[in-house]
Every structure is written in C-alpha cells, then in structure tokens.
C-alpha cells in the first residue's frame, strides 16, 4: 500500500471512530501537510456530529416532555429511529393537537361562563333565600332574598357563622340542619322551622370535591308562613265542615267524577246501614240503593243526569232507600254536582233525610182533617135527630107508665122504646164521632174495662178472647163508655174477620214513648192495647182508609165503627192504627195516655127503675118538644115542674122562687141555647143568688167539654139527651142522695 493510500485508510477509520487517534503529520513525510489538513477535517467532522447528536437529543427530550403533558409515556429510541422521528413530524402533530385542545378549552370556558351567568341568575331570582357556607359553617355567599329575609339593611355577613345570622341561638345544635348534613353525609330537609313570627322550609345540600370531601354547603330557605296560615285556615274550615257534617240530621255522601264515594257522614251511615270504612271508595250505587215507587232502581241514572249538566240540582221526594240489610225507608233527596275550577263536574254531593215519620204524620193529619170535616156535617144532622129522639123516647117511656106489662099496647111500646134506644145509640155514636166529644173521663183500670167489653162483644159468637196484661198496668183516665165502645168495635171487627172462628188476642202493656218514636204522640207514659186476629187481613190499599167514616168492605157495615174508634181515641189524647198482612190477620193497636193515679174501688152503684120523688124542679130548654116531655115525665115521677126557654128566664124564675120562699130543689138546664143565655152562663148567675143550687146539665152534645167536667162549672149532675124516664130519675136520685 502506498503512503497516500495508508493515510486515507487511517483517516477513514478516524472519521468513523471518535476514539481513533488523529494522523501523525511527521510520520507522513512529504504528505505531512496533507495529513494536517485531513486532521482538521476529521476534528470538524467530529464536532459537527456531536452537535447533531445534541440537537436530536434536545428534540427527543422536548417531544417526550410534550407527550408527558398530553399524558403518555416517552418515546423509545428503538421505537422510532432519528430519521423516522424527523419524518413523522411529532412536534407538528403535537402542536396541531395542542391547537385543538386550546380550541376545546376556549369553548369549554365560554360554556362555563354562560353556566356561571345562569347560576347567578338562578341564585338571585329563585323564590327562596340562598346561603353558601364553607366547611366551617362560615358564610361565603348569599343572595338578595336571603338578605331580605334575615339581615338588617347594610349588614355585612360574609365570614360570619350562619348560626349567628339565622338561628341567633334559638335552635338547639341537635336540630341544626348543617350539622345533620355533615353527620349523615346527605341532603337534609326541614319543614316549618320557626324564626321570629315566621315559618321556613329549609334544605341543606353538600358540595363536594373530586374525592368526596365537603367543600361547601348550600342552604335554601323558603318562607312558608302564609302557606302555613292558609293551611291552618283550611284545616280549621275542614274541621268545621266535618263537625257540621257529623252533627246534622241529613245524610251526606260525596263522590268523585266516576261515582266512587269519597265522603260519608254519620247520618248517611245510619240511613244506608253502611259504615264509612266500608263505603269509602265503593261505587255510590252499591250503597245508595234508591228507587221511586213503580220505577226501576235509579241511582245510576240520577248520577249520570247530575254529572251531565253541571248546572243541574236534582231534588226529589218520596224516594225509597233500601238499607244494607234490606229494610227500607222513605227519603227526600237533593243531588248536586261538585264543580271543579274549569266548571266541569268533578263529582256529586247527595244530601238526603228520612221522611218516613214525617210522611206518616202528614197522612195522619190529612186523615184527621178528612174525618173532622165529615164530622161537622154528621154532627149537625145528629143533633136535630137527637132532639126528635128525645121526644119519641120520652113519650114512649111515659106512655108505658099508663099501662101494665100485660097490656097488648105495652109490648108494642116496649119494642118502639127499644128501637128508639138503638136509634139513640146510633145518633150518640154519630155525635161522639162528629164534634169530638170531650170524653166524660174517670180513672179506670183498663184491664177490667177491656175484659168486660171484649167478653160482651164475643159472647155468643164463634170466637174466643185471649187476654194478656202487664201485671203493673198503669191506670188511664178515660170515658169508660167510649173506650168500651172502641174495644167492642175492634173485637166485633176481629170476630167478623174470622168467620170460621178462632181466638182474638187482646193484650195491654205499659209503654214509655220518647222523642224518636214514630208514633205521632208527645213523649210520655202510655198504655198500649193490641187486638190481634188471625183473619183474612186487610188489603194494603184499604189499610189507609179503614178509619174513614162510611168506608166499609162489609156488606152490612155502615162504616162508622172504626171512624168512631179513631175519633174517640184521638179525643182521649191517644192514637190508633192498624197493621195487617193479607192471609195472616190484622192487629189494631191503640195508645192511651197513662195516669199518674191509681184506681180506687168504685162505689158507684147501678140504679135501675124510676124512683118517685117530690120537690120543685125548673126545666130550661129552648126546644118546646123537650120541655114538654121533660115536664110530663117529671110530673109523672111526682115532682112539681116549671119550664123556661133560656137562661134569662131561668134566673128570673129562680130569683122569684127564692123571694117567695119556694125555692127550686133542682134545676135541669140545656147547655146550649141558640140566640139566648145557655146553661153555662145561667148557672154562674144562679149560683150568685143561691150557692147551694142543685143544677143538672143536659145536652145533646155529649162531646162538649162542660159535659165532661160539669162539676167545675157548678153543676152537680149531668144527663145526656135524649134521656128516658129511668135515666132522668137516676140523675135526680144521684143529685138528691149526694147532696140532700
């Protein structure tokens, strides 16, 4: 190898290997200058290569630094060689990515700013006060509303504890919402917290960092004072409504728009038989089972009608309500829609009341009125007829005195007298029924009276009477004749209802009526008498009419019997009604007011036959016919008789007789003198002249109250017209015996 070739070979090795020594110019001889030049080039080359390596290292460092900023691991030299690294342009890529990251950051910041604005707007416009606290319960922010609620104007509260500003020591620590939130780690809500004279609902919510540590707390205060007051007023209103609903007598049921019950008051529970617990949420028609006479059940149609027209208020009367257990009652009903805000019906209200008793009282009243008006007419006729009978009876009984029983005429007169007595009985019945007839009352034991009357009516008939009386049966103040007549009529009716015989059950018991009883009588003590047959019964349609005069289903009846019973019982302050099941029999029930007194054994003895007497008797009657027959009968008995037509004349005659020292031993006075002074006024005046006057009152109106309580007016005897000679004799005997 030549020297130049060796020099170039060594230079090449020195260029490739930094550690390789440079050329030795002295050893190169004549090529020493060439070797020195090569050495300079080799040193320059080695310097440039170091510089390049530093630059590349710097680039890798910076790229790795940026990759770390982005969040990834550094580049590995084996992964990307220097050349590839440069060609990939990582700095360009990272710069482009940073550009996108910054763009995104800017957009995010803009969104955050808008969100912040929105939060600020919410903070200030929300209806409640907002307080932001740090973890130490110190105020770091609050809104205007909070300031209005709790702060004096101008007061700086940042940095203060909320306990100083809001609670001011009035809330125990254990009730502090913030502390409870810290303790539980959750949002805390507190209702109706008082502060001064106002009430607040409070919500405390935590704000936490990424690790869940408490940073802040946000407290919202809502002033509910007005709401609570309104609620209290509403609750009070509801309570008042509830008490009203529970205390009224009307049944009230409310439903929703689908007809399900939402409310039922106590009266409605009683009327329907359904308890509130069972009824609420039930379809109204399940419990409100109503129908009108002769129509199908109508609850659903009623409900639909009312809901269809919100203006409509249905009012109905005489509706039958079937109770839960099947019993029925009559009700009047009002059904109205409940209107919601938009005027649609959101349900209905049913208000109803039991009118069963009312209806029965109305019917009783109507019956009474009907009977009274017929009575007035019948009474007028009976009075005139009675006077005619007086004359016939008087004359016939007098005529008999002129004959002996063996005379042929005596028998005829006897028959005439009997017929006349029957006619008298009929007119008496008519009169009793007609104008009332205040009964001539005595204290009696009903047991004896009932037994006697019932046996009398049933004797000789195909029926038997069975009696059942309460041991301590109260006494009653009754007209024995009239009540006896009632019992007789009822037993006769019972006997006629059982043509093939049977037993009439007669019972009496003590009854104490209270306000709630359906019997149309005032409350108090009564004796109840039931007369029960097992006959054919009375049709329901007829049951209402049986007490009407001249109503009869019997071929032979004149329709007065039950009308008279009704009239008599009513005049006694009692009540009579009938109940019947066709095919099973009827029960007549009468209530008579009980007396506080006990019956003392009666000493009244029957007086029979005419007893002759002596003395002066003054007869006052406006009817000439009566005056004549009375005078004749009295003279026949041996009395001296004077007659007059009215009170004025009687007083005049009495005074004159006194003056002449020939006083009358007795005066018989007609109670009523049309157009003149009657017995009531005359006796007062005569008593003024002679307080010991023995006056007997006589009237065709057995019903007149004076006849019932004649003693109170100064009379000492009473004789209803028409009277026979026996009756006249008896009353005179009584007068003279009791007061000789």
């Amino acid at each position: 190898m030549s020297v130049p070739e060796q020099i170039i070979s060594l230079a090449s090795q020195a260029l490739q290997d930094e550690e390789y020594p440079l050329l030795d110019p002295q050893a190169c001889g004549e090529y020493s200058l060439f070797a020195e030049f090569l050495n300079k080039a080799i040193v320059q080359n080695r310097q440039m290569r170091k510089k390049y390596q530093r630059t590349e290292s710097y680039l890798r460092d910076k790229i790795n630094q940026m990759l770390q900023v982005i969040g990834t691991i550094p580049l590995r030299p084996e992964e990307l060689d220097d050349e590839t690294l440069i060609s990939l342009d990582p700095l360009g890529i990272i710069a482009g990515s940073f550009s996108q990251i910054l763009d995104h950051q800017r957009e995010t910041n803009e969104k955050l700013e808008i969100a912040m604005e929105e939060i600020n707007a919410i903070f200030e416009t929300v209806g409640g006060g907002i307080l932001v606290l740090d973890a130490e319960q110190k105020i770091i922010s609050y809104n205007k509303k909070f300031s209005q609620m709790f702060c004096e104007p101008g007061l700086e509260i940042i940095g203060h504890s909320c306990r100083d500003i809001v609670c001011q020591g009035s809330v125990p620590l254990k009730e502090c919402g913030f502390l409870e939130m810290v303790r539980t780690g959750k949002s805390v809500s507190k209702s109706n917290c008082p502060r001064d004279d106002r009430s607040f609902n409070i919500v405390v919510s935590p704000v936490r960092d990424k690790n869940g540590n408490l940073l802040h707390a946000v407290i919202l205060y809502i002033d509910v004072t007005e709401l609570m007051q309104a609620k209290a007023v509403m609750a009070q209103e509801k309570e008042r409504l509830s008490i009203t609903l529970e205390s009224i007598g009307e049944g009230v049921v409310a439903t929703d728009s689908k007809g399900y019950i939402t409310l039922i008051n106590r009266a409605a529970e009683e009327l329907t038989g359904w308890s509130g617990d069972d009824a609420v949420n039930m379809p109204v028609c399940n419990i409100f089972n109503v129908y009108q006479q002769g129509e199908e059940h109508s609850c659903s149609t009623l409900f639909e009608d009312v809901l269809r027209d919100p203006e409509k208020i249905e009012q109905m009367s005489n509706i039958t309500l079937k109770k839960k257990k099947g019993a029925e009652c009559l009700i009047s009903l009002s059904a109205a829609p409940i209107r919601s805000e938009n005027d649609n019906a959101s349900g209905i209200i049913l208000v109803f009341r039991d009118i069963t008793k009312e209806k029965r009282l109305d019917e009783e009243m109507a019956k009474s009125d009907r009977i009274d008006s017929i009575g007035v007419l019948a009474g007028g006729i009976a009075h005139d007829f009675n006077n005619l009978m007086s004359s016939v009876l008087g004359n016939v009984s007098l005529a008999k005195k002129f004959l002996t029983p063996q005379d042929k005429l005596y028998g005829l007169l006897d028959e005439t007298e009997k017929s006349t007595r029957r006619a008298k009985g009929l007119t008496q019945q008519l009169l009793t029924f007609a104008k009332g007839g205040a009964p001539i009352i005595n204290l009696v034991s009903l047991k004896d009276l009932i037994e006697e009357s019932a046996r009398f009516s049933s004797s000789g008939s195909h029926i038997k009477c069975g009696f059942s009386f309460a041991d301590d049966l109260w006494s009653v103040n009754v007209d024995t004749g009239q009540i006896g007549q009632v019992i007789q009529n009822l037993v006769i009716n019972a006997s006629q209802a059982m043509p093939s015989g049977g037993t009439v059950r007669v019972s009496a018991e003590n009854i104490l009526l209270d306000q709630d009883d359906i019997i149309p009588l005032s409350h108090g003590k009564y004796v109840r008498v039931d007369i029960k047959d097992s006959g054919k019964g009375i049709e329901k349609d007829n049951l209402d009419k049986i007490f009407d005069p001249y109503f009869s289903t019997k071929k032979t009846g004149h329709g007065l019997g039950l009308a008279i019973c009704f009239s008599i019982v009513k005049k006694h302050g009692g009540h009579i009604f009938a109940d019947s099941v066709v095919g099973e029999g009827s029960t007549f029930t009468l209530y008579l007011p009980a007396s506080e007194e006990d019956v003392s054994p009666s000493s009244a003895a029957e007086k029979n036959g005419v007893v002759n007497g002596y003395g002066r008797i003054l007869v006052m009657d406006d009817e000439e016919m009566i005056r004549d027959i009375s005078e004749t009968m009295l003279r026949h008995m041996g009395y001296q008789v004077e007659v007059c037509v009215d009170g004025e004349e009687a007083i005049e005659l009495y005074r004159k007789a006194m003056k002449e020292e020939q006083p009358y031993d007795a005066v018989i006075m007609d109670l009523t003198i049309p157009g003149g002074m009657g017995g009531k006024e005359a006796i007062e005046k005569i008593m003024a002249i002679d307080p010991t006057v023995k006056a007997i009152v006589s009237s065709g109106y057995a019903n007149d109250p004076i006849m019932a309580s004649f003693r109170r007016y100064g009379f000492i005897g009473v004789v209803p017209k028409p009277y026979s000679m026996d009756e006249l004799s008896a009353v005179l005997q009584e007068v003279f015996v009791s007061q000789p």
């Binding site: 969040g71 990834t72 580049l75 992964e79 060689d81 590839t84 990272i94 990515s97 996108q100 990251i101």
Partner: protein
C-alpha cells in the same frame, strides 16, 4: 391510503362514515402520535360530525392515552373490546 410509522405501514380505510386506523401490533406512544396526526388532519370532518374515527389497537396502554388526549381535544370517545383487540371510537361531542 398508507402511512409509514416506525418503518411499518398502517392501513387506513376511509369508508362512507368511518375512518379506520388499524394499528394492531404497534405500541404507544407511536400509536398516540399517529392517532393525534389523524385527528389533526381529519379535524373538519370529525368536528362537524360528518365522520367518525375508528382506531383498532391491541396495545392496552393506547386505550388510556388516546381517549384521554381525544377528550382533551373536545371529542367524545368510547372504547369497545372486540375479540383480541380494542376499537377506540372517536366522534364529535353532542
């Protein structure tokens, strides 16, 4: 379209809706740089929502670094495991 990374070619298929970047067999951070490069180049179509970028990789680290970087750049990212590799789907935020 082909791209040379670290001396190795990677297939990028540009379909109707999706741009697919198949980097299976490659490791991070080279994958991240390629993904970032693609996000930069396709910024307009990706941000507008016209297209989505589907990155296929079997490097587990890339499933953290790429989503994190793409999120910071304002993209919505979902990672799906498919058989032996992952699909990182990058699209515009809603």
């Amino acid at each position: 379209m082909f791209c040379q990374v670290g001396g190795i070619l990677m297939a990028i298929s540009d379909k109707q809706k999706n741009i697919t970047l198949d980097m299976r067999g490659q490791v991070c951070p080279a994958c991240l740089l390629v993904a970032m490069d693609t996000l930069n180049r396709q910024k307009t179509v990706l941000k507008s929502g016209t297209k989505k970028l589907s990155i296929l990789t079997d490097n587990r680290e890339a499933t953290t670094t790429i989503p994190s970087t793409a999120n910071n750049m304002g993209y919505e990212v979902t990672v799906n495991k498919i058989d032996t590799y992952y699909e990182i789907l990058v699209e515009a935020q809603p």
